[in-house]
Symmetry: C2
Subunit: 381 residues, 2 copies
């Protein structure tokens, strides 16, 4: 009985999902003086946005399709200004760094992969640098002497994503964004292709709270599919689990090192994040014995110095994957419902461009670049 | 300036170290109406006693020298009564089980090890049972089909050692044992081969507390060496780090499974403890990347079902090892100082017999079995 809910609030924009996408968009809209509420089923940024390693890596990650690579590079290009702005607004540091990514090779197959990335990058006008084994070991002395060579991608940056989420929250609050945490949206109500309200669990109270707005943004990551389904919409959204480990090391890792799915990411205080896995195992956000095994054996190939790495924690996050692995952005068939979800492995990277384009759509009705590739309707009605 | 300490307490026996050895002895002495104080630098049972896997395994662990094996078997034989008594005194369960240990083989070398254990056990009059690969898999269906065979040692038991420590603490308190936690002994004072007092850190207060007793028992595990040194005694005590992992599994493990240093130990609630490592790395009680790697790769050989094991925690403990890997028990050259330390991998197993023999020494001056092999003086003055 939604109409008997215990409260009604009408704002300009209701954003469902307080991850890096929802919070970045909220910031842009608040800067344009809109009244914005962010709803999250948990605390702000607690899901994939915090679970990530913080790599801003269009060059190491996403080279095709070309349109998506260009979107990724455009977002990466926004990062210096984005990071500075959030630091100034929040007074918090976000640990943004631009040292690049080092891809390393241990086998013929790796050599081929690196050559492939080299030529793609070169043809796109970027400046990848081939490194010999000894150059790799000079750059990162603790890597395995078995390394055969490397490829330095200077355009890949990274950020302390946990700090970024904290700073986004502080900055948003200072600009007047209203954050409602532990507020799980149960249902979107609508008719005639117009969303009319949201029903939100009200904790102990029996009746749900009703939220209304001029516009609604679905930015709920892996949970977007089941929310869209309450309107009868089909979004092919599948959580892809990624497990991670964090160690504190006796030595300094100067740069991100990647080898296929395995990587080492430096964090403040000599912490090193290690990842990862890619598993389709539902919403079960657990760390498994197999996940631990595959990460530590993968990392053991990268460096023999595991004995002086001290275990801090293990966790798992759910990447919001879609049927074509591309995000879902912009308007679908509902006139006041926008999508900003399905960012898969690229949520941290794509946050600035997603926030910019969605804000343009909301504020002017027109995004500054075409979003056809990412339109919600591509999966059918 | 120890004589300016802020308190003086005189009891019958002061036990330095609130691990399974110190607490078991305290219980026996309190049952004989002695006034006992247990001092621990931390909380009760927080070091090796809780870090252990809880195996009571003389048959799988300790077959030589014969005297030590006999001591181990004698202690194992005390366990049923010991466990029942502690449960009755405390009202707590300690999870004592008698299902035995299953040694498994995956290689020629393992086959030889198992045959060796089989013949030793048989000659000692015990009843080890050779299992074929299919019998092993019938007993523990989730083991790897690569298993070649097994050896069931029905005489090996186990206990939930964390619960045991809790129950020992409750039982001791009910019998009047005084537990002083977060009370680090800094110095033993003595002369003419007689201990006169202990100096204990008094938290925020500047002067140490002074404790006095008729007799003193050094049961401080890995920290016993540095305490003995304050009296000018040399105890060759070296911490041997053991790393452990605990998972919650989707399946039931019916029995302890061992393969060299690697093992799976069932705990309540479908928890499985996995171990371990043996490292001489000082007092650094950390879990390392290398420890994780070696445990999970060792366990991956035992069972392919790591994907449905959910990580709960990782920890490390310090086994108090001695130069000959045997415990240090009884009186040395100081007339009112007893030793009950150096139990290495066998503290949980040896607690009942150690408590019994040390209580006999204290109460009657005579232990019911010779302790020559374990005398403190064997390492020199």
């Amino acid at each position: 009985m939604p109409n008997q809910g215990n409260s009604t609030r009408k704002v300009d924009v209701l954003i469902i999902g307080g991850g890096v996408i929802g919070c970045s968009l909220a910031l842009r809209l608040a800067q344009a003086k809109l009244q914005v509420t962010v709803l999250d089923r948990n605390e702000i940024g607690l899901e994939a946005s915090s679970a990530a390693a913080g790599m801003i890596g269009p060059h190491a990650e996403a080279v095709e399709p070309a349109d998506f690579f260009n979107l990724s590079v455009a977002s990466r290009d926004l990062y210096p200004q984005f990071a500075t702005e959030i630091e100034e607004l929040s007074g918090e540091r976000v640990g943004y760094r631009r040292d690049g990514t080092l891809l390393v090779s241990f086998a013929d197959k790796d050599d081929l992969d690196l050559e492939n990335v080299y030529h793609i990058q070169k043809n796109l006008g970027f400046a990848p640098a081939r490194l010999t084994a000894s150059q790799v070991l000079e750059a990162v002395p603790r890597l395995s002497p078995q390394v055969r060579g490397g490829l330095l991608l200077p355009g890949d940056h990274w950020v302390d994503n946990e700090r970024l989420m904290h700073a986004l929250f502080i900055a948003g609050r200072r600009l007047g964004v209203s954050f409602h945490t532990r507020s799980a949206v149960r249902k979107l109500n609508g008719r005639d292709r117009r969303v009319q309200s949201l029903e939100v669990d009200s904790g102990t109270s029996a009746a749900p709270s009703i939220y209304t707005a001029e516009r609604y943004v679905l930015a709920a990551g892996s949970w977007s599919g089941e929310l869209a389904a309450t309107l009868g919409l089909s979004l092919p959204m599948t959580p892809c689990r990624g497990q991670m480990l964090e160690f504190e090391s006796a030595w300094e890792l100067p740069i991100i090192v990647r080898h296929g799915l395995h990587y080492l990411v430096p964090r403040s205080g000599r912490r090193i994040a290690m990842g990862t896995t890619a598993e389709y195992a539902g919403f079960d956000r657990v760390v498994t014995g197999e996940g631990l095994r595959s990460i530590v054996t993968g990392v053991a190939e990268l460096t023999p110095h595991l004995a002086d790495m001290h275990f801090r924690r293990a966790w798992a996050g759910l990447r919001p994957d879609t049927a074509d692995h591309l995000p879902i952005l912009g308007y679908g068939d509902w006139e006041n419902l926008l999508f900003a979800t399905g960012h898969f492995r690229h949520g941290i990277l794509l946050a600035p461009i997603t926030a910019q384009l969605l804000a343009e759509l909301i504020l002017s009705g027109q995004a500054s670049q075409p979003l056809d590739l990412y339109r919600p309707a591509r999966f059918g009605p």
